[in-house]
Amino acid sequence: MIVDFSPLWINWRFIVQAIGVTLVLSALSILLGLAIGVVCGVLRTYGGRLLDIIIGLYVDVFRSIPVLAVLIWIYFAFPLIIGQSLEPIAAGAIGLGIHLGAYVCETIRGGLTSIRSGQMRAALALGMSKAQAIRKIILPQAFVRILPPLGSLLVLAIKDSAIASVIAAPELLRQSQTLAGKTFRPFEIYSAAMLIYFLICYPVARLIDRLYRRLAPLGAS
């Protein structure tokens, strides 16, 4: 097998752009996922029975359906309902975000329930409202404790952004396919793409590990 990496050099602008789209898509889906996850996690834990059931349903649905199916459905089927087509990147960010939100919700809930109930009682006894206690006492400690699983979810979100290639979002994997088709060098191009993803994901994982080691004492109670 003859290996020739020159298509990578020739098309470096194209690849850099694709990396940019991957980063933007990951960032959007992570922001959306965190927002949904934090709100749903808090509401599911403290919001009473009805909200627990409704959010539980959302979580279970998205834990059971593959991201691929979610993305395809939002890109191809959802526009038929709303009568307006969606941009691939927007559809990708929404699908990935809603999917991620379900996992973040469960992680947050796990963190919140792991904080001893005495802390909530102490805060209430000090005259804080329930919302204040959650925001200032419970959530900060819970965040430190769930940092490791949250870190895995962030890395997962970056990796899952590659699945948006099936709905033609011009991110790294999609553009690699385009290049591979044009240059007939799939081995070199997919290997390079693999390396790029590794260089994005691995430092994120290590960074969160280190952050956690620094912050871990703050989550102990």
Binding site: M1, D60, V61, R63, S64, I65, P66, V67, L68, A69, V70, I72, W73, F76, A77, L80, I81, V155, K159, D160, S161, A162, I163, S165, V166, L173, S176, Q177, A180, P186, F187, Y190, S191, A193, M194, Y197, F198, C201, Y202, A205
Partner: protein, 219 residues
Amino acid sequence: MTLDWSVVWDNRFRLLDGAAMTILLAVTTMAIAIPGGLLLAFLRLSPWRGVSATATAIVEFFRATPLILQIYWVFYVLPAAFDIGFSEFTTAIVGLSLNVSAFNSETFRAGILSIRQGQWNAGLALGMSKPQVMRQIILPQAVLRVLPSLASTWVSLFKDTSLVSIIAVADLSYVALKVRSESFRILEVLTAMAGLYLLMGYPQAKLVDWLHRKYKVVE
């Protein structure tokens, strides 16, 4: 907008075949990835630095890159490297197994390391050899501890099998996308696909929750 669900009913056997393929992919992959993960875990715990470093590099690499790209990569690299074409199914199994083995190895390693050192010492003090201690004392306890994580990996794997549709393995997603493009009943077919995944995945997710509650580690 008018909905016509008859297209789903007319293609029910194809969709069910696709679902069967999804199950077959998940089962075959897990059957390979459990011994594969165990092997990688042992290599990582090996006292020889060269061996453990290589195993660590492999595991970290497969955990930090997208599975969908790994599948493409295997699809193009396998035939070039071995100079023979593999069927799409074999390619899919190779790609999925490599990925899940890496994740399983972390689970197994954590399970083995979670058993306290005193158990090793006690076993060795009783005159057992190291492999004996591993086989008869450590592993049986570790198995129970890793069961919940292993079950979570299984559910992820079950969903991730959908990614092999990109290399034309006739799993549920592939069949659904095909029916969609033949019938143009996009909303009905794709909703049916999501519904079938939900039907299969929901009980599994609940089972995992139950396992997590039942086998929670209390020391």
